[in-house]
């Protein structure tokens, strides 16, 4: 028997009783069983002194032998007494009972419970999952594994109970306490990978494959996005005061809030906001804004005279990361420090709709029903439920993560401006694509008039009151006419950019088609009579002049109307009941009184810059009052649109050639925050990989694969240029001590249009004919003096946002390096236009040994061999931060001169562009470096740079485009 088997057998037999005899001879060494090895001779026979007294033999064994020793240590008398004594008899029995009990109760073999099970009843992974054990052993196993097993889960409600409407709402409300849910959240959660970002739960990308399909939708049909996470800030006050205050926050010579088209309310505008008076430093980010048209038609009679100082209303839409910076700035600019406490949360008297008074059950109805129907013993919680639930759960709407008492409105006593935070007060859907107008015209129908019966008595709903005014009705008819005219439009892009159309529509659930279908545009021949009847002339006028001014008015601007519409929304259940009551199934439902919703349609311009793919990605934004999100979402989806998430909106701006907000604005606080988050995320992902499978970025000569040290870049370029001007005799390598942790980032992104236009012209090869044709001498020729003047006007620490398109193949990635090609590289590409590009020589990783050394030390030290790998830091080395294999430790050496080609900047987003058919990247370059490079490049090859991915050694040629 091998030792392992021996040991196993010993273990198995340790509790079994052994033979008890009086023998003092070696007779018990004989194996019984006729040669079968089943006897238990091993515990007696192998011991060396087995031939001695029985006592020594017994002392070894377990079992009840101990009982013997108590009886007499000096061995047993050879002559036993002839009569039997009760005590000896009893003792012998008792000892035997104990031995047998031990054998019976203790399980053989391993200490697991299932060791006691016969083999054919053992199941795989019984030790991990006690549920695989038979019921009678489960408790024992749980007790044994008690310390390591997780706590037994509290008895949760049954699935049926959990899915009950009230309980589900409670659960949903609990889950959106921390991060806001959009109204379409549940819809998205079923289909999308949802990420928590900026305090919201947002759909990132669908779980199904649709990257190309979404691109096709954007370029030929329609893509829908829920943009409700964009925050709206409302400013109300005298128009002049508002404009004066806001003018401090924008580029002095750029677009402002006061653009004539926008102020009238006909167009939506967009600006980049700065901290007051700080331009060109401290930008906050881009916003879009919308003025409410002046109400001449309705109540304009009283203040016709004082037209200049009318009360104006302005909505500023901003990205949620930016809101934390924007709101205090606006408050400071408008001197709105006086917080207006929100009104006590009084429930608006919800008028019971007359035709369906019994639909909404009373609060107590549900629990009572549960109590009577539930048998009590079976579902014990059902009796407890009413107390736990308290008042029936209400669906959370709007900005639910802040408490009800937090002020969202601020007033100024001096300027009379009121700022209110309308976050989540409205739903904003974005439709992208040339057919978005068809989708809209199919989904929405202008509101029908109410009959005259309601005219006498006041109605709880807003629409009958609204209808009473003839001005409103004529306005509504005009709006409906323009909206119907949109049907004849060939592409969304034909409507002027930023046009705003106010509208009141019927509840789109009433016209929900039975099947999902694809909205199409009508070609001119097959247009139905309704549309073709519309004058062709009028349509052309609409396209040329845009939507006339008064039609941009909408009741959505009125808070009271919004609230009224929100509170009186019919639930889906009620709509379904209406549908059920229709005599002919499938026919159109009668419009109930509360089914009119004011909406705003805002045209979003497509690609406005650059030469190719003009107006790609144009679309409409649909603004709705809150609570109506899903009522519009599903009908839109039924018109065959694709749904995109955050990732698709990134691709949208990328293809449009526009900077995307937090990504391409590193000089804004929100952009800086985003970069930090992104770095942490990428770093964590990198560290999750096993070290042998990680890219060694040091060897690839990539200093910062997860972030872009812009500050260091601009400083180094300034030094380089200075040294070259001042003789250039000094050491080119920048000393590291000077640039360690500048106190605050003071680089900016160049946003001056004139300068950008100049740069854009300089970046193109001057030999191209079309270039000359388009720009007949409007920009000065590039030379040293002009460049120096441009540079001095913007300061050295500027970045330029550029678009790069690769000359040959290659797919740029995030954080790819943009480098200056050397003279040889340029010669190479001139000789051989299709060449792939130069290669970076492989770098050596000096840190590799340092990463490993501490571990060895640990092993040598006695007693600390088991210390965790946390102490990777080498106390003797200069850097104290933990070294990660393949990443440069802080502080970084010179980022520009680290590789064989001088670095100009980095790419913020890069991908293969489906619209251009080649790799395209968006990135930022140092202005100093760019001018420096351009000056040294031959005319025919201006704007040619090298691009290298962080995990690759291959440089590829790319062309710079700066589009204004």
């Amino acid at each position: 028997m091998s030792t392992a088997k021996h040991r196993m057998r010993d273990k198995k037999m340790r509790n079994q009783p052994i033979n008890v005899t009086y023998s003092s001879q070696g007779s018990s060494h004989w194996r019984n069983g006729g040669g079968t090895p089943t006897g238990r001779g091993h515990d007696l026979s192998p011991h060396p002194w087995g031939h001695g007294s029985s006592h020594s033999g017994h002392a070894q064994g377990g079992g009840w032998v101990r009982g013997h020793q108590r009886e007499g240590h000096g061995g047993y008398p050879q002559a036993l007494p002839t009569h039997i004594t009760a005590s000896a008899f009893a003792k012998a029995r008792a000892a035997e009972v104990n031995a047998m009990l031990m054998a019976v109760t203790k399980t053989t073999g391993s200490s697991h419970v299932f060791g006691g099970l016969p083999k054919h009843m053992r199941r795989r992974a019984m030790s991990h999952n006690t549920k695989r054990l038979p019921c009678r052993l489960r408790d024992m196993a749980n007790n044994m594994a008690g310390q390591k097993m997780k706590k037994e889960q509290s008895k949760s409600k049954s699935r049926k109970a959990r899915r009950r409407h009230g309980n589900m709402l409670l659960e949903f409300n609990r889950r959106q306490r921390k991060n806001l849910w959009l109204e379409t959240h549940i819809w998205h959660a079923k289909r999308f990978h949802v990420v928590k970002r900026w305090g919201y739960c947002l759909g990132d990308r669908p779980t199904y494959k649709c990257y190309r399909a979404c691109y096709r939708a954007m370029s030929s049909h329609c893509l829908l996005q829920d943009m409700s996470y964009y925050c709206c800030v409302e400013l109300q006050g005298p128009g002049e005061q508002l404009l004066a205050a806001l003018s401090k926050c924008v580029v002095p010579a750029g677009p402002t809030f006061a653009a004539a088209m926008c102020v009238s309310g006909r167009r939506q505008g967009s600006v980049v906001v700065y901290r007051a008076g700080q331009y060109p430093l401290q930008p906050l980010g881009p916003v879009t804004f919308l003025w409410r048209p002046t109400t001449q038609g309705r109540g304009g009679q009283e203040d016709q005279g004082s037209q200049g100082s009318t009360h104006r209303q302005l909505w500023i839409w901003a990205h949620p990361t930016m809101k934390t910076d924007l709101l205090p700035e606006l408050q400071a600019v408008c001197q709105c420090s006086e917080a207006v406490l929100p009104p006590a949360p009084v429930d608006l008297p919800v008028p019971q709709p007359a035709p369906t008074p019994t639909l909404a059950p009373g609060p107590g109805a549900g629990p009572e029903a549960a109590q009577t129907s539930g048998s009590g013993s079976k579902r014990k919680w059902s009796s407890r439920e009413p107390e736990a639930a308290g008042p029936p759960a209400k669906k959370l709407l709007g900005y639910s993560t802040i408490s009800a008492t937090t002020p969202v409105t601020w007033r100024s006593s001096t300027t009379g401006i009121v700022i209110s935070d309308l976050t989540m007060e409205m739903v904003r859907y974005r439709l992208i694509g040339p057919l978005s107008h068809s989708v809209l015209t199919e989904t929405l129908a202008p509101a029908t008039h109410t009959d005259a019966t309601g005219k006498s008595r006041p109605s709880p709903f807003w629409w009958p009151d609204h209808c009473r005014d003839d001005c409103n009705m004529s306005l509504h008819q005009q709006q409906a006419g323009v909206f119907n005219m949109l049907r004849g439009v060939y592409s969304t892009a034909e409507v002027p950019a930023g046009s705003v159309l106010g509208l009141t529509v019927d509840d789109p659930r009433l016209t929900l088609p039975n099947k999902r279908s694809k909205a199409v545009t009508w070609s001119y021949g097959t247009m139905p009579s309704v549309v073709s009847g519309v004058n062709e002339e009028r349509r052309r006028e609409l396209m040329l002049k845009g939507i006339p001014e008064p039609l941009s008015q909408s009741s959505l601007w009125d808070r009271s109307v919004r609230d009224n519409v929100t509170h009186n929304k019919m639930t889906d259940q009620e709509v379904n009941r209406l549908r059920n009551d229709v005599l002919v199934p499938g026919s159109r439902l009668p419009t109930p009184l509360q089914g009119r919703v004011p909406v705003l349609l805002v045209q979003q311009s497509g690609k406005s810059q650059g030469t190719e793919m003009g107006s790609w990605g144009a679309g409409w934004d649909l603004l709705l009052p809150k609570a109506w999100g899903m009522a519009f979402w599903v009908p839109l989806v039924y018109r065959g649109v694709r749904i995109g998430g955050l990732r698709m909106s990134l691709k949208h701006t990328q293809n449009k050639g526009e900077p995307h907000f937090p990504h391409d604005y590193p000089d804004c606080p929100a952009g800086a925050r985003f970069q930090e988050e992104q770095e942490a995320e990428l770093l964590a992902k990198f560290r999750r990989r096993p070290p042998a499978k990680r890219t060694n970025y040091i060897k690839h000569g990539c200093l910062a694969p997860f972030r872009c040290p812009w500050q260091q870049l601009v400083e180094e370029w300034e030094l380089i240029v200075k040294e070259e001007e001042g003789g250039g005799g000094e050491d080119a390598v920048v000393p590291m001590e000077q640039e360690v942790t500048p106190p605050q980032s003071n680089f900016t992104v160049l946003r001056n249009r004139k300068s950008l236009r100049q740069l854009s012209a300089w970046c193109r090869p001057t030999s191209s004919k079309c270039q000359r044709a388009r720009n007949p001498g409007s920009t000065p020729q590039l030379n040293r003096n002009v460049a120096a003047s441009l540079l001095s006007s913007h300061g050295g620490s500027s970045l330029v946002w550029i678009r790069l398109s690769l000359v040959t193949k290659g797919q740029p990635e995030q954080h790819a390096l943009v480098c200056v090609p050397t003279a040889e590289d340029l010669q190479l590409v001139r000789k051989e236009p299709g060449c792939t590009g130069p290669q970076e020589p492989l770098h050596t990783d000096h840190f590799k040994s340092r990463v490993k050394r501490p571990r060895k030390k640990d092993h040598n030290k006695p007693g600390t061999s088991s210390s965790s790998s946390a102490n990777l830091t080498n106390p003797s080395s200069s850097c104290t931060s933990a070294l990660t294999l393949g990443l440069w430790p802080e502080p970084l050496p010179s980022v520009t001169s680290h590789c064989s080609r001088v670095t100009l900047g980095w790419v913020t987003q890069g991908d293969f562009s489906l619209s251009a058919g080649c790799g395209e990247a968006l990135g930022l370059l140092s202005l100093t470096g760019l001018l420096h490079t351009l000056l040294r490049q031959p005319d025919g090859q201006r704007g040619l740079v090298l691009l290298r991915n962080p995990g690759s050694l291959q440089y590829r040629f790319a062309k710079i485009n700066i589009e204004v």
Binding site: V20, T21, N32, A86, A95, T105
Partner: protein, 159 residues
Amino acid sequence: SNAFLRRYLLCEVCVSDRRNLSLLDDRAIYTATKAAVARAHGDYGAALSSLGFSVKYLNAHTGIVFLRCRKSHYRLLWSALPFITSLENRGQRVPCFLNCLHVGGTIRTCQKFLVRYNTQQLHRMLPLCQSEAERSEIRKSVLSCTLKKEADDEEEEDE
């Protein structure tokens, strides 16, 4: 050998003279049983019953023996047990007979039975004691084997 089903016989060796218990060992039991089977069932029966036959446990103090044999032929052994009249060890002959108390399918059931049987014996002894010393001795031993688990066994007895 695990593939065969077994029977375990729990037997009590009854001797007329207590002193002879010292001669009791498993080999003596083994040979005596085999001889008895051979006498009762012939060579064929002896050969059949010797397959897998062994003495699993022997307690000379109480005279308890566990015998193991194949289930298919345990009747051969079982029926031969009454014909054992003596055991032979070291040239000495011990007159005795084997009293079969229990037949079990596993050794565990036999052990369980033995626990119950022994405790029963002890409890039965208790009222029959003559002297106080004896009584205390027995009580002590009863208590020593009825510590924790035995409660169940006693309950079983009561039923």
